[in-house]
């Protein structure tokens, strides 16, 4: 299991990286922590002409707290978040999610941007960031654009990134102190990819009530208005398993046991958020 021959560049400036992406004749892959891409290269599931290693781009490691959100450079690692080396505006929600990703060795190298750009539906950030209402900052030769994470992830392993765009940063909105958050992941064992993810955020002062059911075979189900799962209310006690099941069924999840574990995941996230 050795990769095919490929060229390797490790640019120092963001513009250089974007410049390298401009060559449309070459099959190019961007590598951050390499925790997913590395194995795929070794298995020859990916056979690129060029790897652009973006870990020397200081801009992408930058993190800062602004008035109403935190910006995390794409190359901030899961461990940076877990250990609190970057600012947090989520009352610790980001830290808790980060601490549950794979194993520490993976968290040391794996990055929030790499994980999101890989868009594996069973990876944590795809669901967690959608539930938190985060946004992705995409940088191309013509400038930057900003997409909600649920719009950025367009499908399983598919994103809205253009061929010569780079995921530059994630913007995570700041929560009220009273925000209620729950996140529940169903895994066969510690460190494995999730089989089901449920996440819910109720932040009444900001008028935010979001829910996500993730780790499905496609992109996560994101409810920017979660009331449909709560009998039309903003009352966490009103969580409706039947409505959740029906929604999963209409989303194409035909297997009853799959629906069951996804429903249980969101139910337990709700229970967590309610502090029960």
């Amino acid at each position: 299991m050795k990769p095919v021959n490929f060229a390797y560049e490790r640019p120092r400036h963001l513009d250089d990286a974007i410049g390298l992406l401009a060559d449309q004749t070459a099959h190019t892959k961007v590598m951050a922590g390499g925790q997913s891409l590395g194995p795929m290269l070794n298995l020859r599931l990916v056979q690129p002409d060029l790897i652009i290693d973006i870990t020397a781009l200081d801009q992408l490691k930058h993190a800062e707290k602004l008035r109403d959100h935190v910006v995390l450079g794409a190359c901030v690692t899961h461990a940076d978040i877990e250990d609190g080396r970057v600012p947090d505006a989520t009352n610790g929600a980001m830290r808790a999610v980060a601490a549950g990703i794979a194993y520490r060795a993976v968290r040391n190298r794996g990055t929030v941007g790499g994980s999101l750009a890989n868009a594996d539906p069973s990876a944590d950030w795809v669901s967690a960031l959608s539930a938190l209402g985060a946004e992705a900052v995409l940088r191309g030769a013509g400038g930057a654009r900003i997409l909600a994470v649920e719009a950025f992830v367009t499908g399983a392993l598919e994103t809205a990134l253009g061929a010569n765009e780079l995921l530059e940063a994630i913007r995570v909105p700041a929560q009220s102190a009273s925000a209620q958050w729950g996140y529940y992941k169903v895994c066969r064992k510690t460190g494995e990819y999730a089989q089901a993810i449920g996440a819910v955020l109720l932040d009444r002062p900001r008028d935010v009530f979001r829910a996500v059911i993730g780790a499905t075979e496609r992109k996560p189900l994101v409810l920017s208005d979660a009331r449909a799962l709560f009998d039309g209310s903003c009352d966490l006690a009103q969580f409706d398993r039947g409505a959740t099941d029906a929604m999963l069924q209409s989303s194409g999840m035909t297997d009853a046991l799959d629906r069951q574990i996804h429903t249980v995941a969101i139910a337990r996230a709700v229970r967590q958020a309610a502090g029960a």
Partner: protein, 788 residues
């Protein structure tokens, strides 16, 4: 001197290098001019080969069966009547019979280049129907793996001991039980470095192997090369578990290639090859009936067992060892009067099934222990009550059971009593009835097994496979400075033999274990041995080392007495010294005399000097019987099907423990693998014979958070026939956990009417079983005419 002898909890000698990353494994070996090999493997499970097309620029770098002049296929024949022979070409000839079968060998300057070359080779294959299900494969009309056989049956066996006596039993429970196909997963995969020396006219094969002498014999047969022209060296090996006891086609191929090319060549198995093409094991199917009286007394067992043996018979254990063993070991540690068992070893288009730690025992333990619990539920008894009624009793020892297995010693009920003493069963029942606060379901499970270890000539001659263990030999040699060298033909890949064999030597000769150098794994300098398998090393190699050291002791006494100027019969040997009434000399003094000052030796000194090779067999070689009782509590999440192990107790009897810490380590490791079998590990195949778990993302192994720290307890019943009373214990940890955990799961689910009868017990299987039980209850409860 600190405790170092038999029974001491001595830290491992080998840890200093292994724990510091200073081991030397096959992949660490560097030879000048080394080139790497990658194989073109069959992408199909069953196909005729119409053509292999090699790009012209790679003509000299790619080799196919047509190139392998004079190389014979691997044949592992069993002498059991009716056994059908498979021939495994080392590179496929007319047909491929499993995904991953070797079709062409590609050599490059690096592995990556070899893989590039392999990717450029095109196969023209005519796909044939894949034989993927062992039960279908047994029937008429199945596609055939080996057409000339006329069916897919390697071997059928049948035994009937008075089954008619059981048929009137008031309790009769029948269950269909399966264990999944697995892949044993040592940290290090297989690997081969082969080189040819024209000076020595010798092929040297470095191989990650448990049984280097058997590899040499197998290579000699396939290559048509004298044993003297082959040296097999097995360096540090990162776990074997049975997979490294097999002669691989890759070893034959690389041996041929280095002789053809003149430069050293290397193949290091990658994990995809390992999972999909090499290491497969454990796939059993049982239809088993237990007959019992209302008081739980077992009247008889009737069983039909099928083992998916895969495409070829592997060397040296053969394709039938597993299923044929099922028939002889299914009764386990129980005493009952009626037994019938029919077995089939079935050929399919999958990897050959290989012996994995515990071999057939893990499957049979699962089958019979699940049936005993089903009987307990039927009789309204506690599982332990049924076991106490049927376990062989200490006063019956030695005991010949219904299949003529000779139980050498032990107190099986005591092991169970002690395991139960770790729990308050009535309190558990109360808690279970009340329900857990978090909604989970509590279950308690037991299993007991016996492990036949170090079985020798009398057992293996009957199987008639290419390998029959005889006397195990050890060479002991005192060095001129009074140290000791031991050379033994078994190998150590986690068993800690560098330490424990040194402890045995210390016990006899009193030479500090730090001065005992144990050499293993090299056919050029160790005595012939069948190697490491079947929980045999401590009994066999330990016995051989003790025997050789006793011989050294006798010779040292003669020289020592002469140096002390007394008669040999007037000295004794104590604490590494020869002692007379008036003085004493050390082993160093004696060694100095033999090696450096022969003028001081008596005229009639033993001419063998301070070096002796001695063979050993236990007084009776039908095997040692170690055993254990495992008891476990689990909590099941009925919404997600998740099983958590709350507490795990093992009470084990391994006879005299040479190093109790090493034994505990063996049990911990075995338990981890047993938990893998019970809850995680599964190598599924689709209907085209494609393996579906191709990486560790799909093939789940238990990790540190999934393996609880068990509570261990030891009974020490000395084995009557072996040196020091030791028994083989290497495999036991991996035998009992699937049964104990499944019984605990079924205990937890009994209130719902659900029962799990296959391993691994995945969350999905738990949920399916709960859902099916719910449907059954609903349809039973619905009054006639209201069903919808």
């Amino acid at each position: 001197m600190a405790e170092q002898g038999v029974g001491a909890r001595l830290l491992r000698k080998e840890d200093d290098r292994l724990m510091r990353g200073r081991g030397e494994f096959v992949a660490d070996i560097r030879l000048a001019g080394l080139q790497d090999v990658a194989f073109v493997r069959s992408p199909l499970a069953h196909a005729r080969i119409r053509g292999i097309s090699i790009p012209p620029q790679y003509k000299d770098s790619v080799f196919t069966a047509a190139d392998l002049d004079g190389v014979k296929p691997i044949r592992a024949v069993s002498g059991l009547p009716g056994f059908k022979i498979s021939e495994q070409p080392v590179l496929a000839t007319d047909k491929v019979r499993q995904v991953g079968e070797l079709v062409a060998m590609c050599v490059g300057r690096t592995r990556a280049e070899a893989e590039d070359i392999a990717a450029s080779v095109e196969l023209d294959l005519e796909e044939m129907p894949a034989v993927h299900d062992m039960l279908e494969a047994r029937g008429r009309g199945s596609a055939l793996v080996h057409e000339h056989w006329g069916d897919n049956i390697f071997l059928e066996t049948f035994v009937d001991v008075n089954i008619e006596k059981a048929l009137d039993a008031p309790i009769k429970v029948t269950r269909e039980i399966r264990t999944a196909r697995q892949s044993m997963a040592p940290l290090e995969g297989r690997g081969v470095v082969a080189s040819w020396s024209s000076r020595l006219e010798q092929l040297t094969v470095y191989s990650a192997a448990q049984m280097p002498h058997i590899n040499r014999t197998g290579l000699s047969g396939c290559l048509g090369l004298d044993h003297g022209n082959i040296r097999v060296i097995s360096p540090d090996v990162g776990g074997g578990f049975g997979y490294k006891g097999i002669l691989l086609a890759e070893e034959v191929c690389l041996s041929w290639l280095t002789m053809r090319r003149g430069h050293p060549v290397r193949w290091i198995e990658d994990r995809r090859e390992h999972l999909t093409a090499g290491a497969n094991c454990r796939e059993h199917h049982y239809i088993i009936t237990g007959y019992a009286d209302r008081d739980g007394r077992l009247r008889g067992i009737d069983c039909e067992a099928t083992v998916d043996s895969g495409a070829y018979s592997s060397y040296p254990f053969s394709a039938c060892l597993e299923a044929a063993q099922v028939a002889s070991i299914l009764p386990g540690p129980y005493d009952f009067e009626a037994y019938r068992c029919k077995t089939w070893s079935v050929a399919t288009n999958k990897c050959p099934i290989l012996p994995y730690r515990g071999v057939a025992r893990t499957g049979v333990c699962f089958a019979i222990e699940l049936v005993l619990d089903a009987i307990a539920r039927e009789a309204g008894l506690e599982p332990h009550e049924v076991r106490f009624k049927n376990l062989v009793r200490p006063e019956q020892m030695p005991f010949d059971n219904i299949t003529k297995k000779h139980f050498d010693s032990g107190d099986y009920p005591e092991a169970l009593r002690r395991a139960l003493a770790h729990f308050d069963v009535p309190a558990l029942r109360t808690r279970q009835a009340k329900g857990e606060p978090d909604g989970r379901l509590l279950g308690f499970g037991l299993s007991i097994y016996c492990e036949q270890g170090a079985h020798g000539t009398s057992v293996y001659a009957g199987w008639g496979i290419p390998m029959v263990p005889g006397h195990e030999q050890a060479t002991a040699r005192v060095t001129p400075d009074g140290g000791l060298e031991l050379r033994v033909g078994v190998h150590s890949h986690g068993q800690s033999l560098e330490t424990t064999l040194a402890q045995v030597a210390f016990e006899i000769l009193g030479i500090d274990t730090s001065k005992v150098k144990v050499t293993l794994g090299d056919t050029a300098i160790t005595p012939y041995s069948t190697g490491t398998w079947g929980s045999r090393c401590m009994v066999m190699a330990g016995g051989a080392v003790a025997s050789a050291c006793r011989e050294i002791e006798a010779r040292a006494r003669q020289i020592g007495a002469s140096l002390l100027q007394v008669k040999t019969e007037d000295v004794k040997f104590a604490d590494g010294r020869v002692v007379s009434a008036t003085g004493d000399v050390s082993m160093e003094d004696i060694a100095r005399a033999w090696y450096l000052r022969p003028q001081d030796l008596p005229a009639d000194v033993h001419r063998g000097g301070l070096e002796a090779t001695v063979g050993y067999k236990p007084e009776r070689d039908s095997g040692t019987f170690s055993y254990a009782a495992h008891a476990v509590t689990v909590a099941i999440d009925p919404e997600l099907g998740d099983v958590e192990i709350l507490d795990y107790v093992i009470v084990e009897d391994g006879g005299k423990l040479v190093n109790p810490m090493v034994v505990d380590g063996q049990i911990y490791g075995g338990l981890a693998q047993g938990i893998g079998t019970a809850l995680y590990e599964e190598m599924p195949f689709d209907n085209n014979g494609q393996p579906l778990a191709t990486t560790f993302a799909d093939y789940l192994l238990p990790g540190p958070t999934e393996v609880p720290e068990p509570r261990l307890d030891h009974i020490e019943t000395l084995a009557p026939y072996t040196e020091f009373g030791v028994k083989g214990i290497g495999e036991g940890g991996a035998i009992a956990p699937p049964a104990a955990i499944a019984n605990a799961v079924n205990d937890a689910l009994k209130g719902l009417g659900a029962e799990l009868l296959c391993s691994p017990i995945t969350p999905r299987r738990v949920l399916i079983s709960i859902a099916a039980a719910k449907l059954r209850r609903a349809s039973a409860a619905a009054p006639a005419g209201t069903r919808s």
